[in-house]
């Protein structure tokens, strides 16, 4: 019984140690909520004036990936890239918007804005 308690205590300790650094900021929670709303709109086929919901959802998912891949990412420039990408969908086809988005993130990383 004692050895079992020790083992579960060790597992709990390890799990706590590995997940202790994981937390969500207020901006990330808002982004997550926005992504969930977009999924609901997409599934419910609710039209959003001027915007294509699937395109915005795609950009939101790439922003999540960006947050995951660049650990020291500053939030504001990344969300600036997302918002400018969303606005660009009004004027450019989605392929060009994705090119602009990836190039913008790349340049911001090179110029140490991110």
């Amino acid at each position: 019984m004692d050895s079992q308690t020790d083992l579960s205590g060790q597992i709990l300790q390890q799990w706590t140690a590995t997940t202790a650094h994981f937390s969500l900021t207020k901006k990330e929670i808002f982004l997550l909520a926005a992504a969930l709303v977009l999924i609901v709109l997409l599934v419910g086929q609710v039209p959003v004036p001027y915007f294509n919901v699937s395109h915005i959802l795609l950009l939101t998912l790439f922003t999540f990936l960006g947050k995951g891949f660049f650990p020291a990412t500053k939030d504001t420039p990344l969300y600036f890239a997302l918002i400018s990408g969303v606005l660009m969908t009004l004027y450019y086809p989605i392929f060009q918007v994705l090119l602009i988005y990836f190039l913008l993130i790349g340049f911001m990383k090179v110029l140490k804005v991110l």
Partner: protein, 145 residues
């Protein structure tokens, strides 16, 4: 004050990154990729060379300052037709003929001589439709219409 200048510096770099991204994406869409799809153009090297030569040519920039309101000296229509009539037509594909001189060019399309072939074509929305194109020509890039 230092914080103010560092913010200005950051915003400037962000704007430079944005403008560069928009300009480079424009170049990639026009000269590297085909019809807003990830397909790379087959003539990408030729296009880049042509663009580079045009960019290095001073006349390209001088043409922006030329007076475009001044009409270029040209032949009247009747004379041009007479001049072109003396030049033999060249067949591009069956049913399509073309001729040109220094003053102008003429394309003749004889609809009933054209041999058509039907090809599947993917439209902008992703739907596949069957279109007719003259034999010996390539269909338009997918997603263009």
């Amino acid at each position: 004050m230092n914080i103010f200048f560092s913010k200005i510096h950051l915003i400037t770099k962000g704007l430079v990154a944005f403008v560069a991204a928009v300009m480079i994406s424009g170049f990639l869409v026009d000269d590297v990729f085909l019809g807003y799809t990830p397909t790379v153009r087959t003539d990408v090297a030729d296009r880049i060379v042509t663009r580079s030569i045009a960019a290095a040519n001073i006349d390209t920039y001088l043409s922006y300052f030329q007076d475009k309101s001044k009409p270029r000296p040209s032949l009247d229509g009747q004379t041009l037709i007479q001049r072109l009539a003396e030049i033999p037509s060249q067949q591009i594909v069956p049913g399509v003929y073309a001729k040109e001189s220094d003053e102008g060019s003429l394309t003749e399309i004889k609809y009933y001589e054209i041999r058509w072939k039907e090809v599947p074509y993917r439209r902008t929305g992703g739907s596949i439709e069957t279109i007719r194109i003259p034999e010996g020509t390539e269909p338009p890039p997918p997603g263009l219409f």
